[in-house]
């Protein structure tokens, strides 16, 4: 068999992958590439969500290749067969066509992705010191990594020039993923960038294997494996320690929410959304001791020159309907007594 030179991973919707897998299962060993795609279009799987129009050839191709690459299906003599691997069969058993995936099914998918050699080599290995690891090991022992892009290596002057020509530029510069110990993966080609940075990275994010924060353009994106054992008690202790360490002489301690989230995720690896939910609930519980300080989006967006990064930067702020983005948390020191009670 001719060895594939390019990577097969691309951004896909795993709900559609699951539905395609059901189509293969129901028509096991009867479908070829064209007939599988045709059936998936007819059944409303390989179609655009916004208008129901069929996906073009390239994404259809990638959906098939992702199923093959992850070992969910096998192609023998050009016909698609369901994999006989136990986990795949269990995944089919736990899911239904066109219905949302249960958490148990998602967990199987996570395991399959983390155990895939290509996904490990280009992405998951950077989080781990050892070579042999499972999904659970990543959750328990994984460290965080940072993303460095070409524009981060440019001076402001060069950046100014590229700002003016950004619309002409189609190719993305090299992306470096590196951990704190110096282990790194450099994604040089467009194929690698699409497969890993816009592929596996987003799979891991959407399946909540990892979470990300982007505090400022200069620091770059931080990706970390999510610790699923969330604890409010740990967060309360972090907050109380912040109050204790504050020697401003004021009755109020002020925290910059993105910095608080960053420090907290680096030490606990809790999910950003859970930390934000915790802060909102704290405000409900202690309305006289907690105050949210809003900020204009214009000033939040100053943290990056790229419009495409705005939503990533804003997601480390709290958002409240009618109030907008909340940049700071003001905590009255009396909360120490209230919380202890």
């Amino acid at each position: 068999m001719k060895k594939r030179k390019t990577l097969w991973m691309r951004y896909v919707d795993f709900g559609s992958i699951k539905d395609m897998l059901h189509l293969v299962y129901e028509n096991n060993s009867k479908l070829r590439a064209g007939t599988l795609e045709q059936l998936a279009i007819e059944k409303g799987v390989l179609v655009k969500k916004e208008n129901g129009k069929p996906l073009t050839h390239t994404p259809r191709y990638h959906y098939r290749k992702v199923m093959e690459g992850l070992g969910l299906v096998e192609v023998r003599q050009r016909f698609y067969h369901i994999s006989q691997e136990k986990r795949v069969l269990r995944f089919i058993e736990l899911t239904d066509f066109k219905k949302p995936m249960s958490s148990e099914a998602k967990e199987i998918l996570r395991e399959i992705i983390v155990e895939n050699n290509d996904c490990r080599k280009y992405f998951f290995d950077i989080f781990m010191e050892k070579d042999n690891y499972t999904l659970e090991d990543i959750r328990k022992e994984g460290g965080y990594i940072t993303v460095e892009t070409e524009s981060m290596r440019q001076s402001p002057i060069e950046q100014g020039k590229s700002d003016e020509t950004v619309h002409k530029k189609k190719k993305m510069g090299a992306v470096i993923l590196k951990n704190t110990l110096g282990k790194m993966v450099e994604l040089k080609t467009q194929d690698e960038i699409h497969a890993i940075y816009w592929g596996v990275r987003l799979w891991a994010l959407e399946l909540e294997i990892t979470n990300e924060i982007l505090i400022s353009f200069n620091e770059g994106r931080i990706i970390y494996p999510v610790n699923p054992y969330f604890s409010e008690k740990v967060l309360i202790n972090i907050l109380l320690n912040k109050i204790k360490a504050d020697n401003s002489g004021s009755e109020w301690t002020q925290l910059h929410i993105p910095n608080f989230i960053k420090e907290t995720v680096l030490s606990t690896r809790f999910s950003v959304n859970k930390i934000k939910k915790f802060l909102k609930e704290l405000k409900i519980e202690y309305p006289l001791s907690i105050m949210f300080i809003p900020s204009s989006t214009a000033f939040i967006d100053i943290r990056t020159p790229f419009e495409k990064q705005d939503s990533a930067i804003r997601s480390s702020y709290l958002h409240e309907d009618g109030k907008g983005y909340i940049s700071h948390l003001r905590i009255h020191k009396t909360i120490q007594k209230e919380v202890l009670i």
């Binding site: 402001p156 353009f217 200069n218 910059h256 910095n259 105050m291 000033f299 003001r330």
Partner: protein, 406 residues
């Protein structure tokens, strides 16, 4: 004429609170908490006698009183300390935005005339002529018929500005100041293009923006007979944001701030007070930590953070506004009272987000407006007040009253 309901029942000639509670036409003697005044006094003393940049930030969220503090207190504070205070609102990222705002606030005619008055003595001496009636500014301008006349006069003024008034060592900067004086007749108002260095007809020497600013500050001190100049810069971070800032613009914003701070460190006697939101502080710190250290004198000892008012301060602020509608003799006995609000109003003002000046003023307006409309007897019941506060500033739990009322 019969008394209005508000006067008869609430002992107020009108509702004194402005409805929008933002962009208040700031007067002097506004209510400023004494702890803010004390902190400002301390910073002034420390920086006045110490070395280094005479700059301190005022940090607060929207509605915390930054603008009122700058316009309604600091302007007078500096003027009482022989300092010409100039208020800048949203000055923009570039040097020319700042220069344009400064020079327009001084006024081209007035500033050029004042500078001319200082140069005049030198001109007479140089000409060796004595006049019975010294030439007036407009008289001088009327003699400059041609471009050559104006250029010759500008060159003459250059020498005086540089050698006699010692406003600058830089010939080009001195020439540009001379040009500003002589061209007043043909162009009585400044435009921002006058301060864009490098373009035709600019009044700023190219790549000498800081030198130019120094000379202007010296000129202000000379012409206004003050010891120093204070720039009260409001919303420095909100730098005209029709579009996003590129990295280059961010760099320019920092460069403008840095050059101002450099000037304030030198002997030019420039004070800079920067009003910023919390987010602006964090972003500036991250973009340029060294710059932020200079602004705050390393250990953040000179950052005035505007926090929620205390119970006492909240009540004092409400009283200050109520007093504005108690100028009539027959209302004087209610001066400095909370009436028609109940004395226990602080019980429904426990949530920190309502204990900021702008929300308090807004609450004051709506309580009086609604109570008057519904003909509520004074003192206005606390339940009625609480209902309005919760409508204006909904508590975190929908439908549940939680204002810390005891």
């Amino acid at each position: 004429m019969s008394e209005s309901f508000i006067e008869e029942k609430y002992k107020l000639s009108r509702n004194p609170f402005p409805p929008a509670a933002s962009g208040i036409d700031v007067e002097r003697d506004l209510y400023i908490p004494s702890r803010w005044k004390e902190r400002i006094g301390d910073y002034y003393e420390t920086l006045h006698h110490g070395e280094g940049a005479k700059v301190f930030p005022i940090v607060g969220e929207y509605g915390s009183g930054k603008t009122v503090l700058l316009k309604g207190y600091l302007k007078e504070f500096f003027e009482n300390n022989r300092t010409k205070a100039i208020y800048f609102e949203n000055p923009g990222v570039n040097f020319y935005d700042l220069a344009n705002t400064l020079m327009r606030s001084l006024g081209r005619y007035e500033f050029s005339k004042a500078l001319w008055e200082r140069c005049k003595e030198g001109l007479v001496e140089r000409g060796g002529q004595k006049r019975l009636f010294p030439m007036s500014f407009s008289g001088m301008l009327s003699t400059l018929k041609t471009k050559t006349d104006r250029e010759n006069k500008a060159r003459e003024l250059l020498t005086i500005i540089k050698d006699k008034l010692n406003l600058t060592d830089d010939e080009e900067v001195a020439y540009k100041l001379g040009l500003m004086i002589v061209e007043t007749a043909s162009k009585p108002y400044f435009t921002y293009r006058d301060f864009v260095a490098g373009i035709k007809g600019s009044l700023v020497a190219e790549k000498e923006e800081s030198e130019y600013f120094k000379a202007v500050i010296k000129a202000i001190i000379e012409t206004y007979g003050t010891e120093s100049v204070a720039f009260l810069i409001d919303e420095f971070e909100e730098v005209a944001f029709p579009k996003r800032m590129t990295r280059k613009q961010t760099y320019e914003y920092l460069a403008t701030l840095r050059s101002l701070i450099e000037i304030s460190k030198s002997e030019e006697n420039l004070w800079i007070i920067l009003a910023m939101t919390q987010e602006a502080v964090n972003a500036t710190k991250e973009m340029d930590p060294a710059l932020w250290e200079r602004v705050t004198h390393q250990e953040e000892e000179t950052v005035l953070t505007l926090e929620p008012l205390t119970d006492y301060e909240s009540k004092e602020l409400l009283k200050w506004w109520l007093n504005r509608a108690r100028g009539k003799e027959e209302l004087k006995e209610y001066h400095n009272t909370l009436f028609p609000f109940p004395d226990s109003i602080e019980n429904v003002l426990k949530r920190p987000e309502v204990r900021l000046p702008r929300p308090l003023v807004r609450i004051g307006f709506f309580i009086l407006a609604r109570a008057e409309k519904e003909k509520i007897e004074a003192p206005i019941p606390i339940d009625f007040i609480e209902k309005i506060i919760n409508e204006l500033y909904p508590p975190p739990i929908n439908g549940v009253s939680e204002n810390g009322r005891e």
